[in-house]
């Protein structure tokens, strides 16, 4: 059943400071509402149990993309449309751009924000795997100050996270340290547009000839949270790309992920797809392994 509209409060503070003050005064009474592409779906379905929201959508303090020699820093409200349009992100962070391109349709891309995608906490969200691969850091602000936390470790369990009720995400920072890394992203869903992932894979590796010097990989929809697969990474680090290394890595991956059956897919299918995507990623490393100059986006479409 639909929600009873008059029972819901929504306020639009005129500044970040005013928003943080309200959150500080009445913690857990107010929650942020950004683009609304998650919250309004719950609202319409009558499943939005929380009643009081602060619209942060027009707060300029949470907008914009800043580029410095060390980082690209994205405001919390950066939308999928803005991610795709940004030249530096296109060049250096193609996995995030591809995730943005494959998220919903244009209307969703115009309103959906990166911070909303993170805090919604869905294990099937499509940007978090890219953010994990890029070693993103998150700035959390409250009336009392700000702190940066690594994105890895931000989610502590299904829909739980280190964000405190009086805090909001202000910025997301991507270190510019992965130039020349080989990159791979693939989302597998029911159809290409507007489908929630059955499995989503982001990977990046630094190659030296045929050897994996360093590697990152993260998967969506294979665990209660979007998962950085540190054990599989460890099994591959310093290895030559070879059939033997592939097989061993796929075994470790099977131990590391915990996919489930749900309305979108089955655990067995997800495991199989996750392993196949790992293999596709590794095959691309093999194919391009010796060529350091080749750093185009080597990613297949779903």
């Amino acid at each position: 059943m639909r929600s009873y509209v008059p029972a819901y409060e929504l306020r639009a503070p005129q500044s970040l400071e005013a928003a943080l003050e309200l959150l500080e005064r009445e913690p857990d009474v107010w929650r942020p509402l950004a683009g609304g592409t998650d919250l309004m779906v719950l609202f319409e379905a009558g499943k939005l149990t929380h009643r009081k929201f602060l619209s942060i959508w027009k707060l300029s303090e949470l907008k914009g993309v800043e580029v410095t020699p060390e980082h690209v820093t994205l405001g919390a409200l950066t939308t999928y449309t803005q991610v795709q349009a940004h030249a530096v992100l296109q060049r250096e962070f193609p996995l995030l751009c591809q995730a943005a391109r494959e998220t919903g349709g244009i209307a969703t891309q115009n309103r959906g924000t990166l911070a909303g995608n993170i805090v919604n906490g869905s294990p099937a969200a499509d940007s978090p795997p890219a953010l994990l691969v890029y070693d993103a850091q998150i700035e959390l602000v409250s009336a009392r100050g700000s702190r940066w936390v690594p994105y890895q470790g931000f989610h502590t369990g299904y829909k739980t996270m280190v964000l405190r009720p009086e805090e909001i995400i202000r910025r997301i920072r991507l270190p510019r340290t992965k130039q020349g890394w080989r990159q791979y992203y693939r989302k597998v869903g029911t159809r290409k547009a507007q489908a929630i992932s059955k499995v989503c894979f982001a990977g990046s590796a630094q190659m030296q000839h045929n050897t994996i010097r360093d590697i990152r990989m993260a998967l969506g929809s294979v665990a209660p949270i979007v998962l950085r697969c540190a054990r599989t990474e460890a099994a591959l680090r310093s290895q030559k790309v070879s059939a033997g290394a592939f097989a061993a890595a796929k075994e470790v991956l099977a131990q590391e992920i915990t996919p489930i059956d749900d309305m979108r897919s089955t655990a067995a299918y997800r495991l199989r797809v996750a392993q196949n995507l790992l293999e596709e990623f590794l095959l691309q490393l093999q194919n391009n392994g010796g060529d350091e100059s080749h750093r185009g986006l080597a990613a297949a479409e779903s």
Binding site: E9, I106, A193
Partner: protein, 163 residues
């Protein structure tokens, strides 16, 4: 009966006209357009962001009005399907939908037109892929999409633009 919050006073521009209205802050823009402003061209399909029947432009960008609480459009400029024609003169995209048979039941049509016109404003020379991507958030259960696609291609030609 649960407690009621106060209505908010909201000023925004709709199809070029600046107006003030009072509404519950979480009321969906879709409902305010249809019920308060009687702009019933904007349709409701799914009510959850999937189908695009409720597409409007907010500050020049396509949005699903079923997912936008009305308080968030305070100070914004909204365009609905009623604002696409110029008086009696239909937009080239609307003409093309008619001549190509791009509408059957018509529920998806306002949203399709809003998405197509928006695409052509952003990308006057869209490729076939860009047309498909531009309409990917709009579902149609009648036409099978090809006639809609052809209508957008024809509209590009009608406006002197090559598809």
């Amino acid at each position: 009966m649960p407690d009621r919050v106060n209505k908010a006073e909201i000023t925004c521009t709709v199809n070029g006209e600046t107006l003030s209205l009072k509404a519950y802050p979480m009321a969906r823009l879709l409902d305010v357009l249809r019920q308060e402003l009687r702009l019933t061209g904007t349709k409701e399909g799914c009510g959850e962001g999937e189908c695009g029947a409720c597409s409007v432009w907010i500050d020049g960008e396509i949005a699903n009005s079923c997912l936008v609480p009305v308080l968030q459009v305070a100070g914004s400029e909204i365009k609905t399907i009623e604002g696409i024609a110029t008086g009696e003169q239909l937009h080239a995209v609307q003409e093309a939908f008619i001549s190509c048979g791009g509408a059957q039941c018509g529920i998806c049509t306002p949203g399709m037109v809003m998405a197509a016109v928006n695409l052509l404003e952003r990308t006057p020379h869209p490729s076939e892929t860009e047309i498909r991507m531009g309409l990917a958030g709009n579902l149609c259960r009648c036409t099978g999409y090809m006639k809609i696609f052809e209508a957008v291609v024809r509209a590009c030609q009608a406006t002197g633009v090559k598809a």
